[in-house]
Amino acid sequence: MGYTDSKGRPEIIAQPFIAKGTADWRVIDEPDDAGADSDENTGNGEQ
C-alpha cells in the first residue's frame, strides 16, 4: 500500500520521463570503455 498523507491523499507521482530510451538509443550511445571512470568521483556529491 502506498503512502497517503494525514489528510488521506495519495503521494503525487509525476513520472514525466516514462518514454525511456529505446534499444536504438542505447546501442548508439554504448561506450566502448564502459567503467573506465568508475573509480572517479561519482558526480553526485554527498553520498
Partner: protein, 303 residues
C-alpha cells in the same frame, strides 16, 4: 530559415511549448529576444520595489510579485551542497540515503499543502495540457504572473507556494537534469556545434517556465524521436520541489520554480550509468543557479 551555426536570431532555451519532460529551445528575432530581456529586468526591478514597500506583509508581497521569491532553508552542511561534476565524471544514480531523505521531505511537505495546492501540483505535473497551458501563458508574459487572468494567477501562485513549502525545509543542494530539445533543424551531427555557438560559458539563461527534471541523468533519457537534437541541462541549485520516491523506486523527479536565472558554466559530452550497469552518453550543458535574489528583502539564506 537561419543557418544553424550563425542563426539570424537568438536562441531562447525556454521559449517553445515544452512538456514536463523537456524544454523546447526556439529561435527568436534578436530584437524580440532583447525586448523580452528588458521586460524581465523591469519585472525584477518592480519585485524589488514591492519588497521595499512599507506596510505590506510577506504574504501580501508574495501576491504582488511577478516572480516567486527564493525560500530555501540554510544549508545544513557544506557537503550537502551538491556541485556540478567534472566533465570526465560518469554520472551515477542518487544514493539510497539521499532518495530516502528527499522522499521524507517531500511527504512532509505534501502533508502541509492545502487541498487546492495539492490539486494544483497534481494537475500540473500529471496533465501535460495543464503544464503547457500554464507555462505557455507565463512565457507569453515573460514570467509576469500579474499579467495573467485571475484564474491563471491563482493557479500559478498556488504552485509557487507549494514549491516554496518544500524549499523552506530543504537544507540540501541539488544537481537537477532537464532535457532541452533544440530547434528541428538540429541533428546529431550538429548538436555539439549548435550548443557551442548558442550556449557559450557565461551566458545567463532565463526560465520563464517551470522546469521538470530529475536527479539522475539516466532518468531523463529521451525517446529516439528527438534524441538526436536533445541536450541535457545539468543544473546546480538549491531551488525546487522533489517529487521522486524513496529507495525502492527509480524515480527522482524534481520540479524547479519559474523565474530562474542560470549561468552557463560549460558544455561537453558526458557519460552516465544506468541502474542495469550499462552506460549512455549525452551532450550536457552545465548551469549554475544565479537567480537574482536582491529582490528578496526577507531572504536571509544562502543558495
Amino acid at each position: 530559415m537561419p543557418r544553424k551555426s550563425h542563426p539570424d536570431g537568438s536562441v531562447d532555451a525556454d521559449y517553445g511549448s515544452g512538456s514536463v519532460g523537456a524544454k523546447q529551445a526556439a529561435y527568436l528575432d534578436t530584437s524580440a529576444f532583447e525586448g523580452r530581456a528588458e521586460e524581465r529586468a523591469g519585472l525584477r526591478s518592480l519585485d524589488s520595489m514591492v519588497e521595499s514597500s512599507a506596510g505590506m506583509s510577506r504574504q501580501q508581497r508574495d501576491r504582488e510579485r511577478a516572480m516567486p521569491r527564493e525560500t530555501t532553508a540554510d544549508l545544513r552542511h557544506p557537503l550537502m551542497e551538491r556541485k556540478l561534476p567534472e566533465p570526465g565524471t560518469v554520472r551515477t544514480s542518487l544514493s539510497s540515503r539521499q532518495r530516502k531523505a528527499r522522499s521524507v521531505a517531500k511527504q512532509a511537505t505534501q502533508d502541509r499543502w492545502t487541498q487546492t495546492q495539492y490539486e494544483t501540483v497534481a494537475r500540473m505535473v500529471t496533465d501535460d495540457g495543464s503544464w503547457r497551458e500554464v507555462n505557455d501563458v507565463l512565457s507569453e508574459n515573460t514570467g509576469d504572473v500579474q499579467a495573467l487572468s485571475d484564474e491563471q494567477r491563482t493557479q500559478v501562485q498556488r504552485m509557487d507556494r507549494a514549491i516554496q513549502a518544500y524549499e523552506r525545509n530543504n537544507d540540501r543542494g541539488h544537481v537537477v537534469y532537464a532535457n532541452v530539445e533544440m530547434p528541428t533543424m538540429i541533428n546529431s551531427s550538429n548538436l555539439e556545434g549548435f550548443v557551442r555557438n548558442n550556449f557559450g560559458p557565461g551566458r545567463v539563461l532565463e526560465f520563464d517556465r517551470y522546469t521538470g527534471g530529475a536527479h539522475t541523468m539516466h532518468q531523463v533519457e529521451t525517446g529516439a524521436a528527438n534524441a538526436h537534437r536533445t541536450a541535457v541541462f545539468e543544473i546546480q541549485t538549491r531551488r525546487g520541489l522533489y517529487l521522486g520516491r524513496s529507495d525502492g523506486v527509480d524515480d527522482t523527479t524534481h520540479v524547479l520554480p519559474r523565474g530562474m536565472q542560470v549561468q552557463i558554466v560549460g558544455s561537453h559530452w558526458a557519460k552516465y550509468q544506468r541502474p542495469d550497469g550499462t552506460q549512455g552518453r549525452r551532450h550536457v550543458i552545465q548551469l549554475l543557479d544565479v537567480t537574482d535574489d536582491s529582490t528578496n528583502a526577507n531572504n536571509s539564506t544562502s543558495r
